[in-house]
Symmetry: C4
Subunit: 126 residues, 4 copies
């Protein structure tokens, strides 16, 4: 199987990691995820740039998604060059060497019951 | 009516079936669904491949969606070649012989009130 | 202003109207909506076809969206040729004479706190 | 970095700002947001038109998104030419001088636990 479905560029305009959570960690920790699928036979190297509303973008964060694997990346786990600040609006752009699919999900457990959102990210032209 | 709206290839990068549920079964059982619409006059045969973060993909799972019918497929119900493990990140690719539409939905009832997410899946070029 | 943004064909693969609700009517009544925007200078006549998993499609339901207006249509309100049954999986296709935008939203108040989902519908090629 | 990912025209067919909220302000105030990312090296000037179901559209509201910044715009904050009425169905169209990405999010805290929805907005052809 070598499905080249996907795009090389993706963007997620929404981003916000609440500092507060309710419920058992780590499943119920408030988090934002970028679910990435690499259905190719070649490993993906993905460079992520994080944008803010009041300062210069940070990045690239470089991650690997092996061939024919998915990676459900928590933005909370990005550490290099620096962690993403909590309770702060941000956005992200993904640039991959091979075609991938990116979907955005947030679990928000600030109040006692969790809330979920998800959307396919915005694909670039290539 | 023969609406050829849709695509032959679709991908959902997010996938996670919680093992815990709250509320009456089966309506309130935590589940992930792929809602498929086949608006053609011809039956659809859809092959589904499931991707993981740490092992080879599994599939194809083969399902039928009759002409001019919808199928709201629970990933929990896929059994052949093997069930999808619970509490595990996965992703999915759909390949159909005719144009279909795929939409992704999750009901999460791990905490006492249910949470919902939904997004159109990512369509391929064909 | 005459923004021709939009498409003539749209599909929503997910559809399910819960029969149970919690909270004050009508705001908190469980419902599915198709939010339609007609940004043209010409009125839109939209024909909706509803698909099921075990019987022939029903339709068309014909609705009007005046020029430069939005209509947040509750599927619960479709009556002619027949109401959409509750607690039943369905899907929908929209065919418009002018370009429109369709977004899908569900409010689910079966449990004591409401849950929301939304996604842009799938646009056809025209 | 000069990523021209994005489009000049976007539409969000769903819009509704609940007048009721539960929980601490402003984080838990019910609101609708348009998350905008401008990944270009040039500032974006975005004109927003708001559509209703029973009256003429209002606008443009003009906002700036600096180069390489994101703006998570709350529709509640739009004041000029006039605030968007609460508890009212609306829709929106965004016209930008440079390519941007727009994502729609709602936090609904009318009941005691918050609910979230999000979807990528609908991109125009340009």
């Amino acid at each position: 199987m070598d499905y080249t479905i996907g795009k090389h560029q993706w963007a997620i305009a929404e981003g916000y990691i609440p500092s507060q959570s309710t419920g058992p960690e780590p499943d119920m920790t408030s988090h934002e995820s970028a679910c990435i699928l690499n259905a190719n036979n070649e490993d993906a190297e993905v460079k992520i740039h994080i944008y803010f509303d009041d300062k210069e973008p940070v990045g690239p964060y470089t991650i690997k998604v092996p061939a024919q694997r998915t990676l459900h990346l928590r933005f909370n786990d990005l550490k290099d060059p620096e962690p993403i600040p909590l309770d702060t609006d941000y956005a992200s752009v993904f640039i991959s060497n091979v075609a991938i699919i990116v979907q955005h999900t947030r679990l928000d457990s600030r109040q006692s019951e969790n809330a979920l959102l998800s959307t396919i990210a915005f694909p670039g032209n290539v």
